[in-house]
């Protein structure tokens, strides 16, 4: 995937003039800031836990190459089928090969999927593909991209969302009731999920010792997507690998807390496909859940980033999106200030790692250097320093 910084600047300008966009962001960011601030003030143990997670992630990144190998072997041991995708194209090819064409595919929100342009690719192969996270579905219906890491439709007001749902899903919604809209989407998606051939998810973390994938959520769509269709494919960026299952759960808890979701409504641990051995101890795969689990480990620039001392720091990121909500620039641009998938402080760096450091650097000039992102990040990533580093890379290239 490629992108162009100047074009992004033009979109940003459009966003500044769009009052509905500005209003939606203002509301969402204020609510989110206050919520997390109160949560952390009330539960000091979470602040402790995030220090611990910062340490876990530091050590994981320091031994990343070795962890990838360990995770690969552990996945095999639990009868999941592992793959290593060097770049976005390879990830698309592997997953496209598994899905084939003419299938019904349901997806649980995954930034990695957005990173490799998975939905569009599977559609181009002749599949019917649906996002099942409400926010991500709205983004799909709008034909845009996720505007925030955990809340992709943050830029939409309820009016916009309801209009999209009624127009694009062909359901009749009266008035401006969010409840009605959620109910309509639930019915629509249920119909798709029960019939789906393949479910695709990302992961919040992957434990190298056990091959277990951890997924955290509040909608329960991830539970359905990963357990209803006969095949589950998980696309997992290699930076999400941590040494142990316990480490992985800790990462998920901190990630949820820093998005304001605490306690997390659901945490799923998935280690291998579903099976039963209840009849004569004969193991049969595909009991009530999927009979196949494929795990695609995605490199796409991450292992190369290990060699740049500053880009390497970003690999600790647990994608909580805190730095986006706290950034004075992001709250006016959302991920329009970013590349094809990621935006905002973390997103510019992820764009540099996974797409193009020079174009990401050109966008970094909008960084104020104010350091609010640095101060908010649960895993102590020096974001403003990295963004300045990207500026230097961009200016040296011109």
């Amino acid at each position: 995937m490629t992108f162009n910084a100047l074009q992004a600047y033009q979109e940003i300008w459009g966003a500044l003039l769009d009052e509905e966009f500005q209003e939606a962001l203002r509301r969402a960011s204020t609510i989110s800031q206050v919520r997390v601030e109160e949560l952390l003030a009330e539960r000091r143990e979470l602040v402790e836990l995030c220090r611990e997670v910062a340490g876990i992630k530091r050590r994981s990144i320091d031994t990343l190459e070795e962890l990838v190998e360990r995770a690969y072997r552990s996945l095999e041991a639990v009868r999941a089928k592992p793959y290593l995708a060097g770049d976005a194209e390879e990830a698309r090819r592997i997953i496209g090969g598994l899905v084939g064409s003419g299938k019904l595919v349901v997806m649980a929100k995954s930034m990695a999927a957005a990173e490799v342009g998975l939905r569009g690719y599977l559609e181009s192969l002749g599949n019917e593909v649906w996002e099942t996270d409400l926010g991500e579905l709205l983004v799909q219906l709008e034909g845009s991209k996720p505007m925030h890491t955990t809340t992709p439709a943050v830029h939409m007001t309820r009016y916009k969302a309801i209009k999209l749902i009624s127009e694009k899903l062909g359901v009749k919604l009266k008035g401006d009731s969010v409840e009605e809209a959620v109910k309509a989407v639930r019915e629509f998606l249920r119909g798709k999920i029960v019939k789906a051939d393949v479910g695709i998810s990302g992961a919040n973390a992957l434990a190298a010792d056990t091959g277990a994938i951890i997924l955290v959520e509040n909608e329960s769509n991830i539970r359905l997507v990963t357990s209803t269709p006969p095949i589950h494919i998980a696309l997992v960026p290699v930076d999400k690998i941590v040494p142990t299952l316990l480490d992985a759960v800790k990462v998920a808890i901190v990630q949820a807390a820093y998005t304001g979701l605490y306690p997390p409504t659901y945490i799923s641990i998935i280690a291998g496909p579903s099976s039963t051995a209840d009849i004569e101890r004969v193991r049969v795969y595909g009991a009530q859940g999927p009979r196949e689990l494929h795990v695609v480990l995605l490199d796409n620039g991450r292992l190369k980033a290990l060699k740049d001392p500053l880009l390497k720091e970003q690999l600790r990121c647990i994608r909580c999106g805190r730095c986006q909500y706290e950034c004075p620039v992001w709250v006016h641009t959302a991920n329009k200030w970013g590349g094809p998938a990621y935006g905002g402080p973390m997103g510019l760096v992820w764009t540099a790692i996974t797409v193009d450091p020079i174009e990401a650097g050109k966008l970094s000039y909008l960084c104020l250097g104010c350091g609010r992102c640095d101060a908010s990040c649960p895993v102590e990533i020096p974001l403003s320093t990295i963004l300045r580093h990207l500026k230097t890379m961009a200016s040296r290239s011109s």
Partner: protein
Amino acid sequence: MLNPLDVVKVIEDNVRRYGFPFPVPREAVYSWAKPLRLLDRGSTMLYTGALYQLTPYIASIVEQLSAIEGSRVSGLALKLSGILSSLGVSRLIVRPKGDMVSVVERILTSIVSLLERAEVKVAYPYEDDMYSGVLLYDLGLDELFKEHAVKVYRALKSRGAELLVTVDPHTTHIMRSVYPRYVDGYDLEVKSYLEVLAERGVRLVREPSGGKVVIHDPCLYARFENVVEQPRMLLRTAGFDVLEPRRSRKMTYCCGGPIEGLTPKMAKMIAKTRLEELREKSGTIVTLCPICYANLRAVAEGDVEVIDIALVLSGAKP
């Protein structure tokens, strides 16, 4: 929106040619100090890095850029170099925002007198009160920044400087935390005048009717240089009731200033958000940085007053 790469280019060229991010007459930096007859050499040296003095020029340039940015609703990335020449660069030189020049002079003069009240005698490097190069650093122009920093360091050393007393957060940060990483053998100690005043116990005139003020922490003091309690303590000593906005101290909120040259529109939106938040607590907003001062003032309406801490502390409050 302006094309940031063009802006960066213009700034780079200007620093190479004039030593400043845009053309400014040299005396504009040190003429305020002439009446004070400060020694031009000494170990304790007041170093402004020219940021306060540049602010009236920045404000005027931003006003002009703002008109250009707003006139192209299509949002086309504009060629800044073309615009600057069509505006005539000379117009940019001679027109600092008039009323701000005198405010800046009063602020700097007040800082010297506050230091005197704390029995700190400072020398001043006049022609060698050079621009620190903050913007070069912020824009990631590392090679040029390094070159510039070495020149500044040598000039200050040649005047006998050992302790630099700085007056704004950007210069404090760059001289204390950044120069050591770029200049070999860097050995200057750096303190903000607010730290010096707090440390040496300045005898402030206590305002009988101080009243309520709200403090706006600049990002660099609060998050990078740990200058947080000193200004509060000084304001309280001077008899003011210091109120905190929702986002303060380490989690303070930016005034938008750093991107005013790229997108004045967004910088203003950020400043407005901050101003409203501050205003909820008090109509008297105390700033500690010239960029914050100019940006918040530019969006202040009605009975809101934005005032620099040096003027508040020296009792020169209008």
